[in-house]
Amino acid sequence: MNANASHLEAPPEMSPEVRALHRRMLWRRRLSRGFTYFVGILLAVWILAPIYFIFSMAFTTPETVRSYPKGVLPFIPFSLETMRFFLSSYGIVPGIVNSVVVAVITLVLSTIISAPAGYAVSRYLFKGRNAFRLSILAVRAFPILILAIPLAVMFINLNIYDNVFSLALMHTALALPLTVLVMSSVFASVPYELEEAAMVFGCTRAQAFVRVVVPLVLPGVAAAAIFTFVMSWNEVFAATILTVRNRTLPAQVFFTLNSSSEPYQFAGAFAMVVPALIFIFLIRRYLFNMWGQVSK
């Protein structure tokens, strides 16, 4: 802050009027800076406070959760009892396992399918490239909700309804447009000259890809995969439609919502939020690659 303001520091030989003007500008700048900080902190509190509330409810005793008026964590007893109660409830542990299985299948499938497409879009100029990109964007914007019902009917006819694999097939369809866009921006961030150089030194195109491009894009691909995982982990609508007995965690919590106690619900919300928070922290540097893409 001082470094920035230093050029505004008035030299001592200036006239009093100019010095006053300088002081006013300095104040204005400090004021607007302070105001920006104020707004930023306000917004940060607005985002963080509800998360803190739910954390403090998940890590206390069920009795405290039911008490009124409620306090938050430093003032109420810390306990793992609520979480333990939630995790031992019917269908929760299988739900978590199902959620993880679905999310892992989804990320593997969508990475395998989208990586070549992303590479093609970033490296080749071909007829229909723009049409492909545009239709991917359009698919991304379409309401995904309409897919769930016909897919459910289709899966029932094919006898693969109520199955984590068929849910993963649907989640892959949801994730694919975004992963293709992210993959293309990840590949585009590796200069083609590197590949060319490798080929000049005697690599084939495939070798250049494996030895030069793959190591460079791996972090970005991992970020895209993590984001796919989070998307699948969070998805509620299709999971409630496509599963009956093999429910994922959100579907299980959703179906017991009206018949469950508050400690259960709050611990459930916490359980759903935590992995998402960890993953978003891991991929924070790639956020713009993912969503910034959409606007271009």
Binding site: M1, R33, T36, V39, G40, L43, I47, I51, F53, I54, M57, Y68, P69, I113, P116, A117, A120, V121, Y124, F126, K127, G128, I136, V139, A141, P143, L145, I146, L147, A148, I149, P150, A152, M170, L176, P177, W233, N234, E235, V236, F237, T240, I241, P250, V253, F254, L257, N258, E262, F266, A269, M272, V273, I280, R284, F288, W291, G292, V294, S295
Partner: protein, 470 residues
């Protein structure tokens, strides 16, 4: 995509076409065709096509006889006659709800000692011996009960009662079972079609639901499809349709403008080059990873009667007893809670789009404006907003389409009854009322609404640009 298979430039030099990129995008294209385009097409179909609308009646009790008339699904019918017929082997797997008869081909001797070989319905035979696979091998003829009953059992040349009688057996005679056949019952039914004409003909039992008196029934399902407005009517006449539509539209209108403003403010804070602005960015982006269900529960924890809002208000001394927010009588509070939860959860997506739009605006332009004395508001109004228009357009379309699909937040905060949305009705029709067709109507309605709104946005924004250019 490969409409021109002979690409050649103006010099006439032929270039070999490189198929690699097409091979690379092929999996994506195929996958999206199979799991995106096709289900979407099917979804629209489910909403307007009833695959079982009409039942074709046959003149004779066979599949290949002429069609005597058609009855709509649900028509009441009289059952005039019944008979068993062999089920074609290709239909055996798929048929459901059918009434069957089993017939045995038997070998035995009649009272005069003549050998009789022919078909008898299984209700006339008591099976005495079976092989390891539970196939009947031998049995005895059941005695007929009742004073007026014919004491002898007829044996037919073919497995149906209209064929020639080849012999008659006394009761309790031992028979060898050579073969068995499964027959489906056919009914001769009479009912009225949509035009009010009386139609009579044969239909398989799988299509007819028989009432207890065995003489009347209804057409359970048809074997021919028909376009129908039935499901859409059912949707629009559903008592939750209008509340759901209004709630969805009101919430969309409430959520989107606030989100855009808030996202621009967040983006300006992030771009203000303060110390720690990356921390602000990460904090603002956190809700991106939070599911709508979790967000709904989190805000439920705040708004429930013994929740945080009441706790804070009471702690500050504003109220003496907890206020009930989320109840039928205070529906507006549910709307406010859903609105806050959605603004809280989904603004980060808009923020990210706006920030990456802002990064594309050159620093010099903004600095020049500042040097010439433009206030923050003037810079936002005359430089940032016009340059952000493409990003805002995308954010607007994406957010509106997502807002039309509001689901888990609403259920978490209202229980899914008091305030309901179109997406929630889709779920309810499918999962609770077991009506996939009406559910597909709701989903198609959301799709058309989204496409219409996106089209409207694109049009208005384009017209503005054209106006500016002219």
């Amino acid at each position: 995509m490969n409409e021109d298979s002979t690409p050649s430039n103006s010099l006439g030099r032929r270039r070999r076409r490189d198929w690699t990129p097409y091979l690379l995008i092929l999996p994506t294209v195929l996958y999206l065709l199979l799991f995106f385009a096709w289900p979407m097409f099917r979804g629209l179909g489910l909403a307007i096509w009833n695959p079982e609308a009409l039942l074709a009646l046959r003149a004779e009790a066979t599949q290949d006889s002429a069609i005597a008339g058609k009855l709509p699904q649900g028509a009441e019918v009289e059952i005039l006659e019944r008979q068993g017929n062999l089920i074609p082997p290709e239909e055996q797997e798929e048929a459901a709800n059918l009434l069957t008869e089993i017939w045995f081909k038997i070998k035995s001797q009649d009272a005069e000692g003549r050998e009789v070989i022919g078909w008898v319905p299984d209700r006339r035979i008591r099976v005495r011996e079976k092989d390891e696979e539970e196939r009947p091998l031998a049995g005895t003829v059941r005695p007929k009960l009742g004073a007026k009953a014919d004491p002898l059992t007829s044996v037919y040349a073919e497995p149906n009662e209209r064929s020639e009688v080849v012999g008659r057996l006394e009761s309790r005679v031992r028979v060898d079972i050579v073969e068995q056949a499964v027959l489906e019952v056919w009914f001769l039914v009479r009912g009225q079609n949509k035009a009010g004409e009386t139609v009579q003909g044969w239909a398989q039992s799988r299509y007819i639901q028989v009432f207890g008196d065995e003489e009347s029934g209804r057409v359970d399902r048809g074997n021919a499809g028909q376009l129908t407005a039935e499901y859409i009517q059912k949707m629009t006449q559903d008592r939750f349709f209008k509340p759901a539509l209004y709630a969805t539209l009101i919430l969309t209108l409430l959520i989107i403008p606030v989100q855009l403003v808030l996202a621009i403010v967040m983006a300006l804070v992030v771009q203000a080059r303060l110390k720690g602005n990356t921390i602000f960015l990460y904090i603002f982006a956190i809700p991106l990873a939070i599911s709508d269900l979790a967000a709904g529960i989190i805000w439920y924890a705040i708004f429930t009667q013994h929740g945080f809002l009441n706790s804070i208000l009471q702690g500050l001394g504003f109220i003496d007893a907890p206020i009930t927010y989320l109840s039928v009588d205070t529906r507006y509070w549910i709307f406010i809670a859903i609105w806050l939860a959605e603004v809280w959860r989904a603004t980060s997506l808009v923020m990210i789009i706006v920030v990456s739009g802002l990064q594309a605006i050159s620093e010099e332009v903004l600095e020049a404006a500042e040097v010439f004395g433009a206030s923050l508001w003037e810079r936002v109004r005359y430089i940032i907003l016009p340059l952000l228009r493409p990003s805002l357009q995308v954010a607007l379309i994406l957010r509106t389409i997502f807002a039309l699909q509001l689901f888990a937040v609403v259920v978490a905060l209202s229980g899914g009854d008091v305030v309901t949305t179109l997406a929630n009705e889709t779920f309810r029709q499918y999962s609770l009322l077991r009506n996939p067709h009406v559910a597909a109507s709701y989903a198609s309605f959301i799709l058309l609404l989204s496409v219409g709104i996106a089209f409207l946005y694109l049009r208005t924004i384009r017209t503005q640009q054209e106006l500016e250019q002219s």
